[in-house]
């Protein structure tokens, strides 16, 4: 099973661990730390998963007060290490492509 990590446990940072799950089993997200920001962290992780087209993974976020921009950067690093590139914007937003 593939497993990658990004980030550090320093203050104002976070550690992201992404681990492969059996095909079809979907996404599992666990968050440690991040008190009072669980909903915001969940939104960011789910948005990034969608952007990278990732399904069937365990994502664990160990948060130590990372701001959203830091969390996004750490997620991106982890997903690239996992072997995924971001899905082109047009695929996520077909209506924009049509507008163009």
């Amino acid at each position: 099973m593939k497993k990658v990590m990004a980030g550090t446990p320093e203050s104002m940072d976070c550690v992201i661990v992404v681990e492969e799950r059996p095909r079809g089993s979907g996404v599992s997200l666990t968050i440690s730390g991040g008190e009072r920001f669980r909903a915001a962290i969940t939104d960011t992780v789910m948005g990034m998963l969608e952007r990278f087209g990732l399904t069937d993974v365990d994502v664990h976020v160990q948060d130590n007060g990372a701001r959203d921009v830091v969390l996004s950067a750490r997620l991106e690093a982890a997903f690239v290490r996992y072997g995924k590139d971001p899905v082109p914007c047009a695929r996520l937003c077909p209506e924009r492509l049509q507008e163009a």
């Binding site: 008190e35 009072r36 920001f37 669980r38 909903a39 915001a40 130590n64 007060g65 701001r67 959203d68």
Partner: protein
């Protein structure tokens, strides 16, 4: 839901609103009837306070152990015992006394410390087993989380240092037995904090307890065969003396945040705060100030020293918790006196033991609002921190972002109320947590006694201080920023916070220094 919106634990008709807009139940189980806060000095003292218990002592004060002292003191279940926190996170006395109480089957005690630290985590078990029923004093760590989750039968009472000594002297909070950790003592109960392996310097917070407790037990790990003089607490107050192998861990006694911050952002905040002080009319010969021991306040002290040297200013006195940075100011003639209620580091302890200009003061002298004049009333400037501050400059230092009880009030209310210029110096965010919010979770110090907020974005002046705003306007390298801008910026950087889940039940009562109730803290969770 912010505390401001929170319902009363009883019907609305049984609530009153304190002056910062907080709903206060008129009666709180385990606390009694409340007097809602109505303003800084609206509650006036009347009549006479508590007298000292008359007693007689022979020569035999020295006892073999804590259990002997508990028996000799007459301590019984349901009584109130007090402690002081000069040994800070190195203290062994609180745990040792409570362990002995548990062994002797003494239960239902009210614990009345000046502060508790992480080292006192074993109290959690004593609370669960009923040895401790009530706490009047600050709590943190595991104890704070436990009480916030509703595991204590009666609410904790949070008082400032001045409020605590007022409550003792007025008779509102009588002490049955005071336990005093004495780094040096003689057989007849003369106590000093300046010498010994557990030296902590000032015993200022213990003075009031020693004067007014019905019985005083000193615990020492440095029993001297000769008379200890000068003594912080003289023999006339000490009933019993117990020698222990150790009363504390020296590493925990003098540790803490006693170094200037090296974080550039915090240094910037300190520089702005020092510039505000230098710009204000307070900055003149005879200046008095208190800055505390955190990284930012120490940096403010350092920048003030530069400014005093540059401008040829000689201050009068430094107050409160004293650090080596204040001792430097004294030695260099930039301050004439240090008034020390708590010595934070080795340099302060050494100075207190040797310099006549470094004076030990009691909590009563330091901050009691109901005496003939506390030292805080003479303060020109105080620099304080905050966990949260809101649009109305109300400050919270009692609860953490997750709503759990974290810190005591310390001298926050007292110095803010007494000082001519009160500055809160605080980064906009701690990690992702905004320090600037619409409404604080708990009001520790009301906005009406806060003059200036300093963050890394600049200086925000309370609209109550138009003169100061005029003085600061246009000063070079001192950006002014509005409260609206700060709150928007904090919200933008942190993102949306999950709402706090809390119940109606009150787990802590925050008293203003005069004993009126400023706010309450409610049980966390569904």
């Amino acid at each position: 839901m912010s505390a401001n919106d929170s319902p009363c634990s009883v019907s609305p008709a049984s609530c009153s609103t304190s002056s910062p807009g907080r709903k206060i139940p008129l009666h709180i189980d385990g606390y009694g009837a409340t007097v809602p806060y109505r303003g800084v000095a609206t509650r006036k003292p009347e009549g006479y306070g508590r007298g000292r218990r008359l007693r007689q002592s022979g020569r035999g004060k020295l006892l073999a152990g804590i259990e002997d002292a508990l028996s000799a003191s007459g301590l019984r279940s349901g009584m109130t015992i007090s402690f002081h926190h000069h040994l800070r996170n190195g203290d062994h006395v609180v745990n040792a006394v409570l362990d002995a109480c548990a062994r002797m089957g003494i239960e239902g005690l009210t614990l009345f410390p000046t502060a508790l630290f992480e080292v006192h985590e074993p109290l959690v078990e004593h609370i669960r087993r009923g040895v401790v029923r009530r706490i009047m004093g600050s709590i943190n760590g595991a104890l704070g989380r436990m009480i916030s989750a509703g595991e204590m039968e009666v609410p904790v009472v949070l008082r400032s240092h001045g409020g605590r000594s007022r409550a003792i002297i007025s008779g509102e909070a009588p002490i049955d037995v005071a336990f005093i950790a004495a780094p040096t003592a003689d057989r007849y109960g003369n106590l000093s904090g300046c010498f010994g392996r557990s030296a902590c310097g000032s015993l200022g917070y213990a003075h009031t307890d020693a004067l007014f407790a019905d019985c005083v037990v000193a615990l020492t790990d440095n029993l001297r065969p000769h008379l200890v003089a000068p003594a912080s607490i003289p023999q006339i107050y000490t009933d019993f003396v117990v020698e222990l192998p150790d009363i504390g861990d020296p590493k925990g006694i003098v540790s803490g945040s006693t170094a200037v911050t090296r974080d550039p952002l915090r240094l910037l905040i300190a520089r702005y705060a020092a510039r505000v002080i230098e710009t204000s009319p307070c900055f003149r010969n005879g200046l008095s100030f208190q800055t505390g021991a955190g990284g930012i306040p120490l940096a403010v002290t350092s920048f003030m020293k530069e400014a005093m040297l540059r401008r040829g200013i000689q201050g009068d006195f430094g107050l409160g918790g004293i650090t080596g940075y204040f001792v430097e100011l004294l030695k260099e003639g930039l301050l004439r006196r240090l008034l020390d209620v708590q010595s934070f580091d080795a340099a302060a302890i050494e100075s207190l033991s040797g310099s006549p200009a470094h004076v030990e003061i009691s909590a009563d002298w330091y901050a009691n609002p109901w005496n003939a004049g506390a030292a805080v009333n003479m303060l020109d400037v105080v620099v304080l921190g905050a966990t949260e501050i809101d649009r109305n400059f109300n400050v919270n230092v009692n609860t953490e972002a997750d709503g759990s009880l974290l810190h005591g009030i310390g001298g926050h209310q007292d110095t803010a109320a007494g000082a001519g210029l009160t500055i809160i110096a605080q980064p906009l965010l701690r990690g992702r947590i905004p320090c600037l919010v619409e409404s604080v979770h708990c009001v520790t110090t009301p906005g009406e006694v806060v003059d200036v907020l300093v963050t890394e974005y600049g200086v925000t002046i309370n609209p109550r201080c138009p003169d100061l705003l005029e003085q600061v306007k246009g000063v070079r390298d001192l950006p002014l920023v509005s409260m609206d801008e700060l709150i928007d910026k904090a919200s933008e950087l942190s993102g949306t916070m999950d709402p706090l889940e809390q119940q109606d039940r009150v787990v802590a009562v925050v008293e203003w220094r005069d004993g009126s109730v400023l706010d309450v803290v409610r049980q966390l969770g569904r």
